[in-house]
Symmetry: C2
Subunit: 535 residues, 2 copies
């Protein structure tokens, strides 16, 4: 009775002339006795016909299916037999990708999983251009009518609803089910995505003082959002804290367990932005910064998201100068993802092919013969600039070459410097040292694929024992799964929202100073990185 939809055994007496309580009142009265909390118990109007029929057919004894909401229980089904499976869908509604799992709410088993591109991309790659599209008409109308709905906003809502329905179709098909079998949906996404999903005006999100239209929304239902899931399925939208602190991060905090931990921990989530949270069960402090793009494959010309054909791992033997790489799916390389980039740049530094500023060394000046030979093969000049060829054109597989240019390297250095500056500004804010952290949870594809040692070599992550780092995967999705399964997690969301302090880095002088100091490999102050060799 913890999951957002659960089944409860009911054995009611059979009606008679002496006991002529109406069928649904009879069911309700039994549930009052069984559940016995002070929440109201109602029977969903949309399900009354089927509940009443099944209740009678089952001889007034069987299993009631209930939406387990904060202030009410809502009966949404009845069956003679205990249901083996109650299907819930957890969704990470990302700006670029949707990722979801189908869960059995009876036991937490994963029934299927999958992902899709966010088709809103055709209206703008990033949050700002989406807001722009959603408010195109509104921006022309000084004082829009109360019932004015921007066609661009409608369009974005429609598109995302379709995408969710498509993903639901995909996941249920994989599990041999129908979308209407989905009895609950949880959604974690950033604040803008949540506004767009609900068709709510995002106009003020990107305008000072950056006020969202909502942070908390009541539990909705499938039919309110025109979703193809069960019409009365509760739709839980993860609450947010502000324009730049969305439900995806609340979800991540929830998934990391840090808000339940006595000892202080850190959570790093690298998406389009790098979002970092520090705290414990007593307090939470968070900030975000533009450290992400280079790491998520958004900057390098050959950069790409972690996906089939992405080079996710690179090594260069420090003496033999042998370059090895591995692609996701073991197919011919088509690009390089964040973890591959970190591996590559760390290797280029350790093999001294780039200097501490992240600039390619001139192969012509190289003294070491083996290194010179390797450089000759991989460091080529294009339009006068040096670049590193990870892999050449492969005529067999019809694949392009994968190349790292100086411009990509520079972006990478900025990103890693931003990341380290964020982490140090944040830890300094609360007067702690990195060494006092119990854990640093690294979320996302970034967390799953990177080698923390290489990130430390670059000076991106603090120089701590590797055991401190834990990859927690798509934490936004993991949190969404948690709220489906666990009533305490749903309540914790509210607790997290109200205990988070947000540190604004855009106006933070300390951050800017720390950022400058971090634009070297590993750092202008090498004593911060004792494990990294300095050349």
């Amino acid at each position: 009775m913890n999951s957002i939809v659960c089944s409860v055994f009911v054995a009611a007496t059979v009606p008679s002339l002496q006991d002529n309580t109406a069928d649904l009142d009879r069911l309700q009265q039994e549930l009052v006795t069984i559940l016995g909390d002070n929440r109201s118990i109602t029977i969903s109007y949309e399900c009354m016909t089927s509940v009443a029929r099944e209740f009678r057919a089952a001889g007034f004894t069987g299993y009631a299916l209930l939406n387990n909401l904060e202030s009410s229980w809502v009966v949404v089904g009845f069956s003679a037999e205990k249901p083996d499976i109650i299907v819930g869908m957890a969704l990470d509604l990302g700006t670029t990708h949707l990722e979801a799992t189908l869960l059995n709410l009876q036991n937490g088993d994963i029934l299927s999983e999958g992902n899709l591109e966010n088709t809103q991309i055709s209206f703008g790659a990033d949050i700002l251009s989406r807001i722009h599209h959603a408010t195109a008409m509104r921006r022309q109308q000084k004082t829009p009518a109360a019932d004015f709905q921007d066609p661009g906003l409608d369009e974005l809502k429609r598109v995302i609803i379709s995408a969710i329905n498509e993903l639901a179709e995909l996941l249920t098909a994989r599990a041999g089910m129908k979308t209407a079998d989905i009895r609950a949906l949880s959604v974690s996404g950033n604040t803008t995505m949540a506004h767009l999903l609900l068709g709510l005006d995002p106009f003020h999100l990107c305008r000072e003082p950056y006020i969202p239209l909502f942070n908390r929304v009541p539990v909705l239902s499938g039919n309110q959002l025109q979703l193809a899931i069960h019409p009365i399925a509760p739709v839980w939208i993860m609450p947010s804290v502000g324009s730049y602190f969305g439900g995806d991060l609340i979800s991540g905090i929830l998934a990391s367990g840090m808000a339940q931990s006595k000892k202080t921990r850190m959570l790093i989530d690298v998406g389009t932005n790098a979002e970092v949270v520090l705290g414990n069960s007593e307090w939470l402090i968070a900030c975000a910064g533009a450290a992400g793009p280079a790491l998520e494959g958004g900057v390098a010309r050959m950069g790409m998201r972690a996906g089939p054909g992405a080079i996710e791992y690179v090594s260069i033997h420090p003496e033999k100068y042998e370059l090895k790489y591995r692609t996701i799916g073991d197919v011919a390389p088509v690009g390089i993802c964040g973890s591959g980039l970190i591996d590559l740049v760390a290797a280029l530094y350790l093999t001294r092919m780039i200097d501490i500023r992240g600039k390619f060394r001139d192969p012509a000046l190289e003294q070491d013969a083996a290194r010179a030979a390797f450089m000759k093969e991989h460091l080529v000049r294009r339009d006068g600039d040096l670049c590193f060829v990870v892999t050449g054109i492969n005529t067999t597989t019809d694949c392009d070459e994968v190349v790292l240019e100086q411009i990509d390297l520079d972006a990478m250095i900025r990103s890693k410097a931003a990341m380290y500056a964020i982490l140090t500004t944040l830890i300094n804010q609360v007067g702690l040292e990195f060494s006092e952290l119990e854990e640093i949870a690294v979320a996302g594809a970034f967390g799953r694929h990177i080698n923390p040692q290489h990130a430390i070599t670059l000076g991106m992550l603090p120089d701590l024992p590797l055991s401190v780092y834990r990859a927690i995967g798509n934490s936004s999705l993991r949190g969404a799964e948690k709220v489906l399964l666990d009533e305490r997690a749903r309540r914790d969301c509210e607790k997290i929202v109200s205990s988070v302090t947000y540190l604004e880095l855009n106006v933070n002088q300390e951050f800017m100073i720390r950022f400058s100091g971090a634009r070297f490999i590993p750092h202008t102050d090498p004593s911060l990185f004792p494990s990294v060799p300095i050349f």
Copy 2:
């Protein structure tokens, strides 16, 4: 803040970088402070866009419009100015007629009123034939699937929804408004009509042990029922007690005020059935019986409901033998309604044209010259049987004659006997005398038009001072109005439902004995009617 939709003044602080609470959260927080009860406060998803826009446009200060529900407050609108009018519609959903009023929930003013025929009549004149139509397919299927919906039931639901929409259109047009301006609807109807309105299977209503599918239903919304009123308008369905004790009677009890009275009162509501309730604020006992048809114009060939052209008043001068009548709307007569029938039969008794058994006396045997002349003019033989011509064919107005046949008289006597038997059985049940009653409220068109003295003459109502009788009009509609306006009335409904005891007359031996005793004018025991002359 008593009505089911009400407005509340809110003055919130303006957002800033220091106070970046989301707009709708800001509104909600203010309301928590203002309303301060333990009910949840949510903002209706469907209204979020307009509420947010108006809240901003009004500078975060103005009037929130709230649905005032039992366990929650739901914000459904916002305006800078205090709304003058909040429109609610109260509906008496009768088996044959719909009657409604449009109210201003701000002050209880009636904005317009009107009525329509229940267009379900084309599928059956009475409850049983409607249930038959609604379950036509289901009766053929031994074990229908859980999602099986009878097409006949769908049809009846569609028809009644259309009729309500039409009536809403009529009433709002009269008040210079639109149907979507209706912000709340209350419905009182019998249990079958409530089932048909909600499209819920009435199959078991007329089958032993006569179990309704529901007696209580949560507050629904306009859009759930596809009504043309505001989509988020709360739709309050008056609860019922059982198959034969519907929300219309609960509404009547509410309107009569008897459930709030320390002294015992009686309520008589004559519709298709005669429904009678006895009680006070401590206890209520009710019963129903088939006393109605003759009184509602459902039996006599010339009988009709109170409406234009219905003879509603008849007198015959006891010495001059002059017959006078009045029709509703003062138009040419087309039939005779319940009150006219009672007047007529009482006058026929007092002028000795019928005997104590309600049989026409033979005009040929009449001794009195004046009476003989009158009888000759009005008492004619058709197919060998005597009948009384109230008014002959009128060639000018192209109107038919209005005639009372012996068969109509017999039905009338049965009805009045049933009525008196019901009343005496009920009062005897609790060991009281009629003289102990503080009031007898007589509801409906019947109550509005009848002359209680004439009903006493016939032995239909007990021989009490006329001041004891009070006509309360359409009590089902009055109760529906009350729940829109008064929070306590909404709670009282629940109290009434749980305190009513229902007395089953169909299996009641005492009732049958009393019925036989009452089949004379005024009664086999004339001492019960000291004010009535015995011939």
